[in-house]
Symmetry: C2
Subunit: 113 residues, 2 copies
DNA sequence: GCAACTGACAACCATTTGGTTGCACGTGGA
DNA sequence: TCCACGTGCAACCAAATGGTTGTCAGTTGC
């Protein structure tokens, strides 16, 4: 089976969560999700940090695969990469479902005694 | 409507993502999800850092509301708090859905021209 | 062509973070 | 009762992080 070792996928998931785990970055993603593809300058206008700080955050998210960029003339346009969001979602679902199963087992053991 | 200002909820979501955004912590959550409620010592036996480091991570996750602990004799037993996982999930879903809408709008604009 | 705009890169700084060791305290079993 | 075990707290440290300012290079428009 291809999902034999969930650990490996989850290990890869940590950077995605980390990328979402900063308030400024989360705000950038929110803005991107509402406004669609946007340039660094546009994004900078919507948060209260410098252009350079925004660029750093975008790079972090790009490395996590959360966003991608294309050049349009002199400005780079950023957009969300939904596949990594789905990956994070799957990860959470896996944890939740396994947790439910674990509690069921626990309950069964208690009843058995 | 009660969901008027998603920004506020999303601001609160950042710590949850941050709590999941560390490999050791993610591993702890994975273990908890598979094994059910576990003591600090049991958790320590399943990662390769010291007990104190594990305790720190658990505290971080507790403050994010991801896990909770109860005392059972001399050891504290930890378990997952599913509500915060759901919160994170809702957050991701919101981003995804808004992103889809944004792309639809963009597509409509392009077609209109 | 030149000034204004946009972005990349580098240096630097303060704070946070992930980890360690050491110590003290409470609990439980022999 | 006493010793081993499990936990919490504090001090400490190196590395990463989030932010800044400054400088340089490529685009755009007047």
């Amino acid at each position: 089976m291809s999902t034999k070792r969930p650990e490996l996928r989850l290990k890869a998931s940590a950077p995605i969560f980390a990328a979402l785990g900063d308030e400024t970055r989360l705000r950038l993603v929110i803005f991107l999700s509402a406004a669609g593809p946007s340039s660094t300058a546009t994004l900078t206008a919507n948060v209260d940090v410098t252009r350079q700080a925004v660029a750093k955050h975008l790079r972090v998210m790009k490395e996590a695969g959360l966003v991608s960029s294309v050049y349009q003339g002199r400005d780079s346009v950023w957009q969300i990469e939904p596949s990594q969001l789905e990956e994070a979602q799957r990860c959470i679902e896996l944890i939740s479902s396994r947790w439910d199963q674990a509690l069921d087992r626990l309950r069964a053991m208690v009843e058995q005694e």
